[in-house]
């Protein structure tokens, strides 16, 4: 075990199971670090990282920024709303200008699927995808799988259900790749209009009935309805969606699942995909996911930065 097989983290699809295991092992060490009285190590003190966010984000941006700061990296933040992108500059030009100021790594979120792949072909630095449109969100999938592994141990044969707006979700796609690489079985559940075509080609079974799906699953990952990405109406009303696909205590008791693990990538719309009391219940590992997010992102940045100089 030495280096990751890739220079960038563009998606889970491009990395191997060994990469994922190495990230998890390193994240174990960083989890210990962020629970120390002094939560900081000097590893990346000669590395500058630009966080380039072309789309809104609270959790991911904060989580990356904390991860970077706890590794002692220098951080510059950039958000598209206040930048020259508005004046017509292209993505590659924007990033090359940032790199000309001696930045070593880029963490980018972009509304267009494949933006990070495009960038990786045209600029010379390590790129971490922090979400590209409805394509991938690799660090979220890694922290989800890491949190599950912490709770359940080996994921081989575990049954994970992803519920909700699968069509617009980058979390769903990255989670499917990641969990399958770790040996888990993944199924999706949601209104037929929000299940992408051909998803079964990925080896993912579609279930349209939430009650049946919950009876099958060990874990339910509840996704938010991404209204900002929906150009047409996919279901009649939020209330109807909530009645059909929302998770609540009565439904759980009806299915008789006391050991179900509930996850959510955030932001949560309480009362839509999941009721408020379940979010705060013992079923939920939602805040563990957030804590682990920092450790997993530290591991990704550490492993990519360690590689960056030696390969250039």
């Amino acid at each position: 075990m030495s280096t990751l097989s890739t220079k960038h983290l563009l998606g889970i699809k491009n990395i191997t199971r060994e990469d994922i295991e190495q990230i998890f092992q390193t994240a174990d060490n960083f989890k210990e670090v962020i629970n120390r009285p002094i939560k900081k190590v000097p590893s990346l003190r000669d590395v500058t990282i630009a966080n380039i966010f072309f789309e809104n984000s609270t959790r991911t941006k904060l989580s990356f920024e904390l991860a970077e700061k706890r590794l002692s990296a220098d951080v510059v933040n950039f958000s598209a709303s206040s930048s020259s992108v508005k004046k017509g500059e292209t993505l590659v030009d924007t990033v090359n200008n940032i790199l000309a100021m001696k930045v070593d790594m880029v963490v980018m979120r972009h509304p267009n699927p494949g933006a990070c792949v495009h960038l990786a072909r045209h600029v010379d630095c390590s790129i971490v995808n922090a979400g590209d449109g409805a394509h991938e969100h690799p660090t979220q999938a890694l922290l989800d799988a890491y949190s599950l592994r912490e709770k359940l141990g080996d994921l081989t044969g575990r049954k994970v259900l992803i519920v909700g707006d699968i069509l617009h979700s980058r979390v769903a796609l990255s989670n499917i790749f990641c969990l399958q690489k770790l040996g888990a079985e993944v199924r999706v559940c949601g209104p037929a209009t929000m299940i992408p075509r051909y998803i079964e080609d990925l080896g993912v079974k579609v279930m349209l009935n939430l009650k049946e799906a919950l009876a099958w699953a060990d874990v339910a990952n509840m996704l938010r309805i991404q209204l900002e990405r929906q150009d047409i109406q996919y279901f009649p009303t939020l209330r109807e969606y909530s009645m059909q696909y929302g998770l609540n205590r009565a439904l759980l008791e009806e299915v008789g699942r006391k050991d179900l693990i509930i996850m959510h990538p955030g932001p949560i719309n309480r009362g839509v995909e999941i009721t408020s009391d379940l979010v705060d219940s013992d079923y939920s590992i939602i805040l563990d996911q957030v804590e682990n997010g920092v450790a997993v992102r530290m591991a990704v940045l550490y492993l990519l930065a360690g590689r960056a100089k030696s390969s250039s």
């Binding site: 030495s2 390193t26 060490n29 009285p37 492993l303 930065a305 030696s310």
Partner: protein, 181 residues
């Protein structure tokens, strides 16, 4: 060049005994003293020193932790492979304590420098000492000297010193070998 044995099993055992007695000579009260072994190679030595001391100070509890210095090293991004971390296990506070850092071979002094940085992130110890099994003098790149030394050796730079521990302590030894073998 063939492997050369610097310390065979018997000699190594005597050295461990002596090191334990030297520590005991300086520290009779173990309540404010803690041993911290540097990962990964100081662990085996630390365990054995602490075990020896336990037979000397019956009844007194000896605090022993491990410290990983990977994230504090100064050669990150300056080598071909990524440095793989080990675990840190300090389940006591080091604030105001007397600490003895333990490592097997003292060479350039850089690991000990990282160890001091890592240690200070956990608090402010009263006093820090260094115990090593082998001191490769004349190879130092930083001003670091041990307080307790098992054996001083003078070897050229491209020769390597390795401490080998067997699980059951039946054939521990210290050997000298060259990379070009």
């Amino acid at each position: 060049m063939k492997d050369k044995t610097l310390l065979d099993h018997t000699a190594l055992n005597y050295t461990l005994h002596r090191l334990a007695y030297e520590v005991y000579e300086q520290h009779t009260d173990f309540s404010n003293l803690a041993f911290i072994s540097l990962q990964p190679r100081g662990i085996a030595l630390g365990k054995r020193i602490v075990a020896q001391l336990k037979t000397l100070v019956k009844g007194q509890d000896i605090q022993h932790g491990t410290l990983d210095v990977t994230f504090y090293r100064d050669d990150f991004r300056r080598r071909d492979d990524v440095l793989v971390p080990s675990s840190t296990d300090l389940d006591f506070s080091i604030e105001g304590k007397e600490i003895i850092l333990i490592d097997d071979v003292l060479f350039t002094g850089r690991t000990v420098r990282s160890g001091l940085d890592a240690l200070l992130d956990f608090g402010r110890p009263k006093h820090v000492e260094l115990l090593v099994l082998i001191d490769r003098r004349f190879s130092r790149e930083l001003p670091v000297q041990p307080d307790y030394t098992g054996k001083v050796v003078d070897v050229v730079r491209d020769e390597r010193v390795k401490v080998e521990w067997t699980e059951d302590d039946s054939n521990n030894r210290v050997i000298l070998f060259s990379d070009d073998q």
